[in-house]
């Protein structure tokens, strides 16, 4: 048995099934994005206003179910399905805003560190180390005591927790890229440092940054839900999935659906995003497998 044969054996089948995205997770994510974008048109009821006559209605198929509320209602008579649809909006906006800001800040810092090296690099990378050694959830707790819990707090925590990974990745890639001929040629052609950094190196960072960002979406959704569940994230009555799980905590004996259904939404979403993230990574940047 030669090593070459073994290599062929393990790489060939992989190549083939990498070409198309996994369809079920893709469908889940598409549905989710549609829910987020079209929430006001899709949701049958208001997500924050309930009718007291319809309190704790069970989901379809159970006794005590009622037409018009296929997934039941909560303590205030608010429709679970509508709240789930609006909840997708929260999860998605936290991930999109959070990851965009983090990515921009992290990449900028990593680019500076990698490009200039020397003391700039040392200082910035020490900052990364320090940031990594601080406990994120506690920062969230502290922020929520000092300021009221809010969307902004959640974004601050997301940025705080994730920027080090973008900075490290961007720095590493920049170190490799700046050795290459096209950078030297750009210099010879009279480009300044800023032009080289942003016009020539930055576009080359895009694939790996994109991969990292896709892999983070699921993580951010769980993080937001956990913070909201603890009461230090998105404040009620906004229908975040984490808030919904927390709402149903005391009702688990009479009305399990209030907290179990939003949990299933989180689980299915995150699982789909993780599978898609792995696929994007294999397509764009198999090197990152080790990260």
């Amino acid at each position: 048995m030669s090593t070459v044969a073994a290599g062929v054996e393990t790489t060939l089948p992989r190549r083939r099934d990498r070409r198309w995205p996994p369809l079920v997770p893709l469908a889940v994510v598409v549905v989710l994005v549609l829910c987020g974008l079209l929430a006001p048109w899709l949701a049958p009821h208001s997500p924050v206003q309930g009718s007291l006559g319809d309190r704790l209605v069970a989901p379809f198929g159970m006794e005590n179910a009622r037409a018009g509320h296929p997934l039941g209602t909560d303590r205030h008579g608010r429709d679970t399905l509508s709240r789930l649809i609006y909840g997708a909006r929260i999860s998605l906006s936290v991930s999109v805003v959070g990851i965009t800001l983090t990515g921009a800040a992290g990449v900028f810092i990593g680019l500076l560190a990698g490009f200039f090296g020397g003391w700039v690099d040392t200082v910035l990378m020490r900052l990364v180390d320090i940031s990594l050694s601080l406990p994120g959830i506690l920062i969230a707790v502290l922020l929520s005591v000092v300021f009221e819990p809010s969307f902004t707090n959640v974004i601050i925590v997301v940025v705080f927790l994730l920027w080090p990974s973008y900075a490290r990745l961007a720095r590493g890639e920049t170190l490799g890229l700046k050795q290459q001929d096209f950078v030297a040629l750009a210099r010879v052609a009279g480009c300044g440092s800023l032009t080289i950094m942003f016009r020539h190196i930055l576009p080359n960072l895009a694939p790996s940054i994109l991969v990292l960002a896709t892999l983070h979406v699921g993580y951010v959704i769980v993080l937001e839900a956990a913070l909201s569940f603890l009461g230090v994230g998105i404040p009620p009555p906004t229908p975040s999935w984490g808030v919904m799980v927390a709402d149903g905590r005391g009702l688990i004996e009479q009305a399990w659906w209030v907290s179990i259904l939003p949990g299933i939404a989180i689980l299915v979403t995150v699982l789909s995003l993780n599978i898609l993230g792995d696929w994007v990574r294999d397509r764009l940047d198999p090197k990152l497998r080790q990260v």
Partner: protein
Amino acid sequence: MQRYVVGRLVQSLVSMVVVSVVVFALVRFSGDPIAIMAPPEASQADIALMRAHLGLDRPWPVQYTTFVGQALRGDFGTSVRFRRPAMELIAERYGATLELGGLAVLIVIAVALPVGVYAAVRRGSALDYAARAFAALGQAVPPFWLGLLLVLVFGVLLRLLPTSGRGTPLHVLLPGITLGWFAVAGLMRLTRSAMLDVLGSEYVKLARIKGLPERTVIWKHAFKNAALPVVTFAALLFVALLNGSIIVETVFGWPGLGLLVIEAVDSRDYPIVQAVVMCLSAMYITVNLLVDVLYAYLNPKIRYGA
């Protein structure tokens, strides 16, 4: 090695200073404590007197130094809600958090290591697929929701286990499983891939050719060498568990530090929040430091600064 350890130690101290500055600044920014404490009929002179008494009229750097000095002596002030020193409450509660964390670590090691090893040994078997499915699922399940699911199944439907509070040994079971779950998935995956690397090597083949019993080959020869990444990950577990305990304690009403801080958030009990954040951060930073030093000790590449 010495240079690395000293550098890492300095960095941990800086982290701790950053935490203390953040805690100090945020709490001071959040409003004038006098406004909350002084009765409405207090005169300007009374307020000024109170301010002087509490040292709030002094410049910020002085106030910060006082704050750090008191913190080092374990004095974080008095809880607004319980009217007792914050540090006393922490001393009361941290045993519960350690008990929960200890059980979670036991579960993680007892489940993740054997399953990870045998999934690698019987690659492609039903056990392997089950382990991989569990690992994928384990990292997507939000822990707070898993806790509620366990409450529903074992507490409400089967009526087998208590679901809230602390008392009998049975009480710790559900929170322990919930806390351990996430880490089991990660450690299992890591053990499996580390074992797969080692099992393909020449010396494992040699051990088999020598006619050693399969168990000796797996545990004494292969696993010993697969253990390096596993050991460091297991140490990192403590850090993850520290974060997770806040969530799990809230779900199960487990009277540890995590629940203490979340209750303090609800009642705006600043001294408690300050004290718990400082103590847990100190633990978090210390464990991180120990893990890095251990890793450097085991792995020369890090020691000599790659």
